[in-house]
């Protein structure tokens, strides 16, 4: 059964039709890369999946694990296992990263009737994840993304991904703004996350990322639709030819 099934979705943002009949099916164990010109609707798709208010599915359906999730609240989707790594993670001064991570983990455990991670085990886990992503554990004490560099914010998204262990990870340009070393660290994190039971939707502009995170499929999203799909070689072709030949 497919993990995610987006069927012929049209979607509106601020009274504009942005997605215009989009289809995407992701099965467990798969990584799908989505590329495409600026403004084509990639982040809109990501937001639709996460249930961001203001992003409205006007026709078609979004199914996760066989359930139509169109009416689900964002936190319910998170509890079910959808995770969005933001293109622009927000800063929340006054809430420590640690507190935020614990609140996320506890909320998910509570909703799924699981036991909460005890505080000591949690701290240990968070620290070791931070270290594995080359983030100084002191980051955990600071406000959520507060004063983090662009690259640090992106690594923090991956830290959350690894901690929350969702079923479906939607990574919106997590590679943008990363230096070469950080790119490898982040890619390594995503590869650690990958397994046969989860799926990844990887939005990116750069073929380079796909050298590190090898996708099963590459799709081109243009003007609100998937206009081309292929394997990883499609990314190389796009790198050479650009998008013009597809639209």
């Amino acid at each position: 059964m497919s993990l995610l099934n987006v069927k012929n979705v049209t979607a509106k943002v601020a009274e504009q039709n942005i997605l215009k009949g989009l289809n995407l099916e992701v099965k467990a164990g798969e990584v799908h890369a989505i590329m495409g010109p600026n403004g084509s609707g990639k982040s809109t798709l990501a937001n639709i999946l996460a249930g961001k208010p203001g992003y409205e599915v006007t026709s078609g359906s979004v199914e996760f694990d066989g359930h139509d999730i169109s009416d689900w609240e964002p936190h319910e989707r998170a509890h079910a296992g959808i995770f969005l790594a933001f293109q622009y993670p927000v800063e929340i001064p006054g809430v420590s990263n640690m507190e935020f991570l614990k609140a996320s983990l506890d909320a998910k455990a509570f909703a799924n009737k699981q036991e909460q991670t005890n505080a000591a085990a949690f701290i240990k886990q968070a620290r070791s994840l931070a270290e594995s992503l080359d983030l100084n554990p002191d980051f955990l004490k600071r406000g959520v993304n507060e004063g983090f560099s662009g690259g640090e914010k992106k690594r923090n998204e991956i830290l959350q991904l690894l901690l929350l262990q969702p079923r479906l990870a939607v990574l919106d340009e997590t590679d943008s703004g990363l230096d070469i070393d950080a790119l490898q660290v982040v890619a390594e994190g995503v590869n650690r996350f990958r397994n046969d039971n989860n799926g990844v939707v990887l939005i990116t502009h750069y073929q380079r990322l796909l050298d590190y995170i090898v996708p099963d499929y590459v799709h081109v999203l243009a003007d609100g639709k998937i206009v081309q799909s292929g394997d990883k070689s499609l990314a190389l072709e796009l790198e050479k030819k650009g998008y013009a030949w597809l639209t």
């Binding site: 998170a78 996320s104 998910k108 701290i123």
Partner: protein
């Protein structure tokens, strides 16, 4: 304020130290009470319930152990010598408090004591005058015990080159009027960490006068105002000298059916170049029936100054709420978390931990990561 005049007139016996000049004093007070500035300050809060408290007998605060270099005396002093003499126009209500108290508490501090001076108010306090000697440094903690109506008037004189860190945690659940007046001499520095919640009516008058060059005042304030409660903050910052500076941040959480009045006035006098003054008042409304009246007031009579002044009334940032939700934190919990964050960023200083726990903000996570 006719009622106060009446109250003053019906006062049976003016204190001894007032007897010579009491008419003159009362005239001055009455005149100030009828001024436009004064009426503006009481626009959203009925003054009667506050001023009524002036007549109540004073209760001695708990002074804990006085730090080295701090001397405390009860004085009856001649009005002519009173440090407050010149302040009647700015602070008529507080000045009139003097009529009801025979004695003032005079605290003189000098040196650099390692222990804080702790004042724990337990009811209405007689006026307190704190004088910090030149080049001295002191930490002052003000706390309030017992949930009974209280008022305090505190007059602070900071000598040249001195510095005072003042932490004030006001959590009593009653009617509460706090009047604070600070005079800064050359290069003096005053830092206020102000936290409050819980009072059915709390009025905070804060008047800071940077009287001499190089003086600096900083206020960081966080307040939580619950349903049915009213917080009224009346802040005046007078820059009367060149090269003086001030930074003020006030964060208020206003629950549904709660009310906040904020009046933040910055007054930069003539011939005061190189003054830098900022004031930020942010109010977070947690319901549709929160009432917020915030008014920035700027009066600037010198060109060469930098001044930033902003007041906002807002709801939680939807981007923040969505970020939380996308991590599985439900709306109600996200709101609580973000409201706490908003308070947290303005909760500072030596009594911050205590304030956070009063606000119901967990602090354990921060201790050791």
């Amino acid at each position: 304020m006719a009622h106060l005049e009446l109250a003053l007139a019906s006062k049976p016996e003016p204190p001894r130290w007032l007897s010579d000049d009491s008419d003159q004093f009362q005239d001055a007070v009455n005149q100030a009470l009828n001024s436009k500035v004064h009426r503006e300050r009481w626009k959203y809060t009925k003054s009667q319930p506050i001023l009524d408290m002036l007549e109540a007998p004073a209760v001695a605060p708990n002074w804990h152990t006085l730090p080295d270099g701090v001397v405390l005396r009860q004085i009856t002093q001649d009005l002519q010598d009173a440090p407050l003499q010149n302040q009647i126009a700015d602070a008529p209500e507080a000045s009139s408090a003097l009529c009801y108290h025979d004695k003032l508490t005079l605290i003189e501090a000098s040196g650099n004591p390692t222990q804080p001076l702790i004042i724990e108010h337990r009811g209405h306090s007689a006026p307190i005058v704190l004088k910090l000697a030149a080049n001295s440094h002191l930490e002052l903690h003000e706390m309030y015990a017992d949930n009974v109506d209280q008022h305090q008037t505190l007059w602070i004189e900071l000598g040249a080159g001195s510095s005072l860190t003042h932490a004030r945690n006001s959590f009593i659940k009653a009617k509460h009027w706090q009047f604070l007046h600070v005079n800064l001499a050359r290069d003096a520095s005053y830092v206020l960490h102000n936290h409050s919640c819980g009072a059915q009516l709390r009025r905070q008058d804060i008047q800071i006068l940077c009287n001499e060059p190089g003086s600096n005042a900083t206020i960081t304030s966080a307040s939580q105002v619950g349903e049915g409660q009213h917080l009224d903050q009346q802040i005046t910052l007078e820059h009367r000298a060149a090269n003086s500076s001030s930074d003020q941040v006030f964060h208020n959480i206003v629950e549904d059916k709660a009310k906040v009045t904020f009046n933040g006035r910055i007054h930069i006098h003539q011939h005061c170049p190189q003054v830098a003054a900022t004031l930020q008042n942010k109010n977070l409304a947690m319901g549709d029936n929160a009432t917020i009246n915030t008014k920035p007031e700027l009066e600037i009579y010198t060109d060469d100054v930098t001044c930033a002044h902003g007041a906002t009334v807002g709801q939680l940032d939807p981007q923040h709420v969505f970020y939380c939700a996308s991590r599985g934190i439900p709306l109600a919990e996200a709101r609580a978390l973000l409201a706490q964050a908003f308070l947290n960023t303005a909760t500072t200083g030596p009594l911050a931990q205590q304030a956070l726990s009063e606000f119901g903000i967990p602090t354990s996570d921060k201790a050791d990561v």
